[in-house]
């Protein structure tokens, strides 16, 4: 087991290296000269001497392979450079934004796990009941609405309407921004904070919660038919015990996989959610920086996401062992 973890950790290095290197060259191919961008000469030809100074300062006059080597040399030392647009250190930007994104993501994942799995379980156990049919339709529906439309509707319905109709203060949710930034234990909103958190968290969670519910339902149905379940029932265990002790654990495998693989979807949804709700997180910043050709920011923040993705998948694989003791890690890769 420790050697497995070590091997997996080692594998993260080439993944991160190649992913970032690929993006490095992709971003360099983008139209729009970063030198012009930094010179601020967006609407007139900037002074050639300014351009030259910028080229030297940022090393644009070096051949691309040299720039590439320099990029990695700095990155390895955890110096992510500075924003072309506002000269802020990317390390600082990353620090600020990652914390905000993390808090939002924690809540979205909590909603996904609690609501998604609960709904999926009920749906599977009461198959073909009214609740099951509703779940099928609602979860399919939730994944058929563009995230930004949902966010916009929630803003209107839970923040604007309550305010215009003078609902009590606590019932007026907030449409945008981080809010007072008051948290306990890192992620528990205190004071006014929850009114700022709730709409973006629900919006971000919407898609993955629907998926988790569908997944749980499907996988639970599968498990309920399994032989060992029949054995468990034959042993005289009550249905509830059967489901709780044997069923749930086994049914969680694919759901856990989903939560791991789903990370990409969460990032995608986070870009949209953070943009709609002006939540100062990684997602909106990444999209902005790519569109704005702010390469150091785009690369630096993506680096964080790539590393996070790799670790989450490692955790997911490790959790297989816990959920299903039959899986022994270390003998080849996990499924």
């Amino acid at each position: 087991m420790p050697s497995y973890i070590f091997r997996r950790l080692l594998l993260i290095i080439p993944t991160v290296f190649f992913a970032l290197s690929f993006l490095f060259f992709l971003f360099f191919a983008l139209p729009g000269d970063p030198v012009n961008l930094i010179a601020g000469g967006a609407d007139r030809a900037p002074n050639p001497i300014t351009l030259q100074q910028i080229e030297e300062r940022y090393g644009f006059d070096d051949p691309l392979p040299v720039q590439f080597a320099n990029y990695w040399e700095r990155t390895v030392k955890w110096d992510l450079g500075e924003s072309y647009l506002n000269r802020r250190s990317v390390n600082d930007i990353l620090g600020d934004k990652a914390v905000n994104s993390l808090r939002l993501a924690i809540w979205a994942i909590l909603i996904e796990i609690v609501v998604g799995i609960a709904v999926g379980l009920v749906s599977a156990i009461r198959r073909y009941s009214m609740a099951d049919r509703m779940t099928t339709i609602v979860t399919a529906g939730a994944s058929a609405i563009p995230v930004f439309v949902l966010g916009f509707i929630l803003q209107y319905g839970f923040a604007v309407v309550p305010n215009l109709n003078d609902w009590p203060e606590w019932a007026r949710l907030r449409t945008s921004r981080l809010g007072p930034d008051s948290w306990a234990f890192f992620f528990i909103p205190t004071g006014e904070q929850w009114r700022y958190l709730i709409l973006p968290a629900v919006t971000l969670a919407s898609v993955s919660t629907a998926l988790a519910a569908r997944m749980t339902r499907g996988s639970m149905l599968e498990v309920l038919r399994a032989d060992y379940m029949r054995t468990a029932r034959a042993k005289g265990l009550r249905e509830r015990q059967v489901v709780a002790r044997h069923g749930l654990r086994n049914a969680m495998l694919p759901v856990i996989t989903l939560i791991g693989i789903d990370f990409g979807t969460v990032i995608g949804a986070a870009v949209l959610t953070e943009t709609v709700f002006s939540w100062p997180g990684l997602g909106s910043e990444i999209a902005d920086s790519v569109v704005g050709r702010d390469l150091p920011v785009a690369l630096g923040l993506t680096l964080a996401v790539v590393v996070a993705y790799s670790f989450i998948n490692l955790l997911v694989d490790l959790s297989y062992a816990w959920f299903d003791p039959r899986i022994r890690l270390g003998s080849g890769e996990a499924a």
């Binding site: 594998l11 993944t15 991160v16 190649f18 992913a19 690929f22 993006l23 992709l26 191919a29 983008l30 139209p31 099928t136 339709i137 399919a140 529906g141 994944s143 058929a144 609405i145 563009p146 995230v147 930004f148 439309v149 916009f152 509707i153 209107y156 898609v207 998926l211 569908r214 997944m215 499907g218 996988s219 149905l221 599968e222 038919r225 495998l253 694919p254 996989t257 989903l258 693989i261 789903d262 990409g264 979807t265 990032i267 995608g268 949804a269 870009v271 949209l272 943009t275 990444i286 999209a287 790519v290 569109v291 050709r293 785009a298 993506t302 996401v305 790539v306 993705y309 790799s310 499924a335």
Partner: protein, 306 residues
């Protein structure tokens, strides 16, 4: 399909997982007749199928169905609500929304199908090679998918769109080339388990070429989860187009892409809700239709579910 806020890969995983059991599935490839019989019993799936047929007909006969063209403007009728002349009302500059939504079926279907096709071709080819040949080739391909899975595809999508300029075709390329990862993994695991079966060994013993075995003997048995995946992916690609439009990297006006119309209509919600509602409804029902059909296919293709 790794798409932005959608149902694709994960639903398909339901079809593919748990991996080991594919062996049984493949051993008992269902008869087409049985599949159809089981599919027909699923009411939601049938509704979805009818909707998709209607959608395809709308796309094919758009010029017959739509009363006006996508650019024809009615001077003075700006943001007008639904009426006898304009069933879905008019947009900001006086174009008929109904006609645009009808023509939009073409755009959205084209994007959905073409992007899914690209993803399927890449995913199938790489996944089959990885699963069948194994060894360093497999490691290479799987590392490649790991790398691309680790890059948030939205970053890729925005970067590619910035590189190629904004158009329908860019959307297709973006979503096609970011959508093959899930397919590749599924195909690989199918091939991994299928190639160990007796009939493959028999074919090998008969001296058939590796390519023949791959495509003639294994592929048909590995198709089931791919069919399900591909069906649902078409819907999720259509949804992703909306997200790309929202981020400003989707198709451009006057292309009547539904996602673009929704994205533009979002600001008009409080004053001219029809601008968001009708194209939004078109996306919603289309995505649902593909999900229902995909679900129906999964159940119908799986002989264990009676």
């Amino acid at each position: 399909m790794t798409a932005i806020g959608h149902a694709g890969p994960d639903t398909a995983l339901e079809a593919a997982e748990p991996g080991g059991e594919l062996t049984d599935v493949a051993a008992a490839r269902p008869l087409r007749k049985d599949v159809w019989r089981r599919f027909k019993r699923n009411r939601l799936a049938m509704v979805g199928l009818v909707l998709i047929v209607l959608l395809v007909l709308t796309a094919v006969f758009a010029s017959v169905i739509a009363p006006y063209t996508i650019t024809q403007r009615f001077s003075g009728e700006f943001r007008a609500g639904p009426s006898a002349d304009h069933w879905f009302g008019t947009d900001l500059i006086g174009r008929d929304v109904f006609s645009r939504v009808v023509y939009g079926a073409r755009v959205s279907l084209k994007i959905g199908i073409a992007a899914t096709a690209i993803a399927l071709v890449i995913g199938l080819a790489l996944g089959a090679v990885a699963g069948f040949f194994g060894g360093p080739l497999e490691s290479l391909i799987m590392r490649l998918t790991d790398i691309f899975l680790a890059i948030p595809y939205i970053v890729l999508a925005v970067a590619i769109a910035a590189l190629l300029g904004r158009s329908e075709n860019t959307v297709i390329i973006v979503l096609g080339f970011t959508g093959w990862l899930g397919i590749c993994r599924i195909v690989r695991s199918s091939f991994l388990s299928l190639k160990q079966l007796e009939y493959v060994e028999a074919a090998t013993a008969l001296g058939y070429s590796k390519w023949r075995i791959m495509f003639r003997h294994i592929l048909p048995n590995a198709l089931q989860p791919i069919i399900v995946y591909g069906t649902i992916a078409v819907g999720s690609v259509i949804l992703s187009e909306a997200a790309l439009s929202f981020l400003g990297v989707g198709p451009q006006d006057p292309t009547p892409a539904w996602g673009l119309m929704v994205s533009d209509g979002k600001s008009q919600l409080p004053v001219a809700p029809h601008l968001l509602f009708f194209p939004g409804l078109a996306i919603f029902t289309t995505v649902l239709a593909f999900v229902f059909v995909g679900d129906g296919l999964r159940d119908a293709l799986d002989p264990k579910l009676k």
